[in-house]
């Protein structure tokens, strides 16, 4: 019994001190609170019927976004903890082990559990509406993708309080992460959680690829697609090619750790450099997976709020294709210092610089979309306008990093940290905020408050620059990333302190954002027209929020900026008057995706703690739920004409 108690204390990390106790307490409170609230307001059935079993792309998109905002909070808290520890030399607020775990979870969560669900959330929210169809190509698979992501995120976050977090960095290089140097379940959490969410992401890539290829409304040719949909199309292709590489890398490393193989070990003929190559063959395209959709968002927002057509549409498409291709031949720039020789380094250096060319074309096209426009600085537009200079700094320091001999000096330093936060925050996070302000009325039928939105933008943008700009200098001063502390006497202290102040301002910006959501939910202006921004693409043609079937009659598209054209010619989205409605074919809800992901979760736990019985139960459950789907014959229903008429009448479209 005593042995068990000891084991449990260690397993639940109760011997790790107040940070863990506090987390346990907060998690406990939140869980109990949610359960009590759901029970008290009798919401369980509503939750299950409307959300947990839904296959509606709009609702799945919203669930992705909620998860992404929660993960931004978690990752941001990690960031603030690290900034607190680094704010002055020789602090002991966090010890080395804790700091190592926190930068690992911060990086992993921000990229895979914040940026990814945020952009995939907007794939879901906007793409089917923009191409004028009723759902994605595979709605059931879409639900599975979401729940796999969700199970993985839960598993990964659990590591904080059960068994210990990974501490190998988000890049997780062997041999450090092999069992010899890094025992315990932490690293397994990383490998298993990424594996599970990766499967979901590949499915998402396939889903949107097919959706955009096959489900476009009549007349919506590829060269009439809204630019955001184009970016999703290209991103999906990158996902389909890049993610399987990650799957392989993670699997090999997990086999090393769980079953004692020697793919990447020091002894037994392993080759750690192989992992590093595999990781970045996925990892570099991954950063384009999170930035290209942001480019798409900015294209929509800039054109809408300049009240002007997007400048250089074809050039925008071609440059995205060029970026996508180049993104697969630059991965070595992440390890110029691995001694591949001058030929290899020169090739990858120059190919990396070349990405600046199509990116530059895009920047100029955005600028010239605003040129001669009437630029309205709404909150969404502020993020787009703020993006240009911030991303420019990120991109150009990226070009500086692409010079191999210079990179020998910048590598892994705070110069790099500053660079990638400029692209990830200045690009992706700004893009996600722009999209949130832009599509919020479409998702919820309510506008976010503009005044709070401005406060949010300025606070976050200024804080961001105060936090990360000084870090370029820290890099020149010789400060490396992943150092949990540093001695006095190098002049690093004051710069780090400034940086920490900036991080706090970003935190305040985030709180204003949360306040804006709450405030607007209660007092926000309702969007009764469905088209609050005088929009150009088809999502603005339907009600806010869109009805379950999106469009009562699938619109016929006559050109680019389809809805803009319809407005100019006075056409109705439902076509000429008197065209009768027909029953609409829709997929059924299903509880199986969430149950299947529960089995993935169980199997994941098995692989993490090497409890093979659990792993087998989980995998069997996955197989059974998959097989069941094959025998499901009634997976769709029809929305009757009367119901459509009622909905359309309420929207004033009859």
């Amino acid at each position: 019994m005593n042995g068990f108690a000891n084991w449990a204390v260690h397993f639940f990390m109760l011997d790790e001190g107040p940070l863990i106790w506090l987390s346990d307490f907060l998690i406990g409170c939140a869980t109990i609170g949610i359960i009590v609230a759901l029970t008290y307001f009798k919401l369980w059935k509503w939750l299950w019927d409307n959300w947990l079993t839904t296959v509606d792309h709009k609702k799945i998109g919203i669930m992705y976004l909620i998860a992404a905002v929660l993960m931004l909070f978690r990752g941001g808290t990690d960031g603030l903890l690290m900034r607190a520890q680094l704010s002055w030399p020789n602090l002991h607020f966090l010890n080395a082990d804790h700091y190592d775990q926190i930068f690992t979870t911060h990086g992993t969560i921000m990229i895979l559990f914040m940026a990814m669900p945020a952009i995939i959330g907007f794939f879901n929210v906007a793409v089917p509406l923009q191409i004028g169809c009723r759902d994605v190509a595979f709605p059931y698979l879409n639900a599975i993708s979401f729940w796999l992501f969700f199970a993985a995120a839960l598993l990964f976050n659990l590591s904080f309080v059960v068994g210990g977090s990974p501490d190998g960095g988000w890049t997780s290089y062997p041999p450090y992460v092999e069992n010899v140097f890094d025992p315990g379940p932490g690293e397994n959490y990383f490998l298993v959680a990424l594996q599970i969410t990766g499967i979901g992401t590949i499915a998402t890539g396939v889903n949107f690829l097919i959706t955009i290829l096959r489900m476009r409304a009549p007349g919506m040719t590829m060269m009439r697609l809204p630019m955001f949909t184009w970016s999703v199309f290209i991103t999906s292709i990158i996902i389909v090619f890049a993610f399987p590489v990650l799957t392989v890398a993670l699997a090999l490393l997990l086999i090393d750790r769980d079953f004692g193989s020697h793919f990447f070990t020091v002894t037994g003929g392993g080759m750690p450099m192989q992992y590093i190559n595999l990781f970045w063959i996925w990892g570099h395209p991954e950063v384009y997976i999170v930035i290209l959709p942001a480019f798409g968002i900015f294209s929509e927002v800039v054109s809408t709020f300049s009240h002007k057509r997007l400048f250089g549409y074809s050039a925008m498409v071609v440059s995205m294709i060029a970026i996508a291709i180049l993104s697969f031949i630059v991965w070595v720039h992440h390890f110029f210092t691995m001694g591949a020789g001058p030929g290899v380094n020169s090739f990858f250096g120059v190919s990396t610089m070349a990405i600046a060319i199509p990116t530059g074309v895009k920047i100029f096209n955005w600028l010239f979309t605003m040129h001669k426009g009437r630029v309205e600085f709404t909150s969404a537009m502020l993020w787009a306008v703020g993006f240009i200079p911030n991303f420019l700094i990120g991109g150009l320091t990226g070009v500086m990093l692409a010079v191999p001999p210079a990179d020998y000096q910048y590598h892994n330093s705070y110069f790099l940290i500053a660079h990638f936060h400029y692209v990830l925050i200045g690009g992706t996070v700004f893009g996600v905020f722009a999209a949130i302000y832009y599509w919020w009325p479409k998702m919820f039928g309510v506008l976010l408050d503009e005044k709070l939105g401005r406060w949010h933008f300025w606070m976050f943008m200024i804080g961001f620059n105060i936090c990360f700009f000084p870090q370029f200098f820290l890099g020149f001063m010789g400060m490396q990333r992943r150092m949990y502390t540093y001695p006095a006497g190098y002049g690093w202290g004051i710069i780090n302190l400034i940086s920490t102040v900036g991080a706090v301002l970003m935190g305040v910006g985030f709180l204003i954002f949360v306040w804006n959501i709450l405030w607007s939910a209660r007092f926000g202006q309702r969007d009764t027209t469905g088209d609050p921004w005088d929009g150009r693409s088809l999502e603005w043609a339907t009600t806010s929020p869109a009805p379950e079937y999106n469009f009562a009659i699938i619109p016929t598209v006559k050109g680019r900026d389809a809805w803009w054209l319809m407005k100019k010619t006075g056409e109705s989205i439902n076509g000429p008057k008197g065209v009768p409605f027909r029953p609409i074919h829709m997929p059924n809800n299903s509880g199986r995706p969430i149950i299947m992901s529960l089995f993935f979760f169980i199997a994941g736990g098995g692989f993490i703690f090497q409890w093979w019985v659990l792993a087998i139960i989980g995998l069997l459950g996955v197989l059974v739920t998959m097989a069941q789907r094959s025998f499901e014959y009634h997976d769709h229903h029809y929305i009757p004409v009367e119901e459509i008429e009622k909905t359309e009448a309420a929207a004033g479209r009859l």
């Binding site: 590598h411 001063m477 949990y484 002049g491």
Partner: protein, 280 residues
């Protein structure tokens, strides 16, 4: 709301703050990357400077257009009735802003490739060499958890967590590791390279003058990584020869016990010196 005004002001504040932080940091000790103390670091520094200037020109160019566009074409009550023209694109302008980046990339690529090739060759000998140094010195570097071991094969000397080199003589560091990957970095003398198990990478460095330069690990390798620092002491050729001789005569031999101590994960309280490189 006046975004452009506030934006300019915030920009000034940020730049001002950074400058303030940097004032009083012109001591080379504070900015090792920007005050190179050897030929390798110097080539890298010139490339950094060159690429920075080119990028600064781009930033300035784009910012001019950017601020022009967002101030001139802002929506104002006066231009409420202005209907923007629908412009598809403009081949002439689009060609211009494709060609300019291409030229910039080429201008950057040429020196980049040249220096990348140059750095794999030893830098020039700058000082009179002696028997102790030869025309170039080879030192084997092993990254342990979490310390740096330096073996002088020709001199049969081993040091831990510091390394002495002759100034003005190219030093060939041969990098490897016994466990996790680390990166060997002496910012004042030159950029880093990985020390990896089972691999043997060469890194040429040279110090212009005698002096002490700090090195550290550039690649995270676990708990003690932040403390993986070492000093590089560059000495005159004569001083170096003297140090080699006294070390060979007076330093203890490397024992098995000391070897085990070095290989065990952990930190050392002070640097070590031995007059042999294999445990006796």
């Amino acid at each position: 709301m006046k975004p452009s005004g506030r934006r300019v002001r915030s920009l000034f504040i940020i730049v001002g703050l950074s400058m303030l932080a940097l004032a009083g940091c012109d001591d080379p000790k504070y900015m090792p990357v920007l005050s190179p103390q050897g030929p390798v670091a110097r080539s890298e520094y010139y490339l950094i400077l060159y690429s920075f200037i080119v990028m600064l020109l781009v930033v300035l160019g784009v910012f001019v257009i950017y601020f022009y566009v967002i101030t001139k074409y802002r929506a104002r009550p006066e231009n409420k009735d202005y209907v923007p023209p629908e412009i598809e694109g403009n081949t002439k302008w689009e060609t211009i802003w494709t060609v300019i980046p291409i030229i910039i990339v080429i201008a950057l690529a040429i020196p980049t490739v040249a220096v990348t090739y140059k750095l794999v060759k030893p830098p020039k000998v700058e000082a009179a060499t002696t028997a102790a140094t030869g025309k170039s010195l080879t030192i084997d570097v092993i990254a342990e958890q979490w310390k740096w071991v330096f073996k002088y094969p020709a001199q049969n000397i081993e040091t831990v967590n510091y390394v002495n080199i002759p100034a003005g003589v190219p030093v060939n560091f041969e990098l490897t590791a016994s466990g996790p990957i680390n990166a060997f970095w002496v910012p004042a003398l030159g950029g880093m390279e990985y020390a990896m198990p089972g691999m043997n990478l060469k890194l040429w460095l040279e110090a212009d003058h005698p002096g002490t330069y700090q090195g550290r690990s550039g690649q995270y390798s676990g708990r003690g990584f932040a403390h993986m620092t070492f000093n590089v002491n560059a000495q005159t050729a004569a001083d170096f020869a003297k140090w080699v001789q006294t070390t060979q005569q007076t330093a203890p031999k490397l024992t098995q016990q000391a070897q085990d101590q070095i290989q065990k994960p952990g930190l050392l309280s002070k640097p070590l010196t031995f007059s042999s490189t294999e445990p006796q």
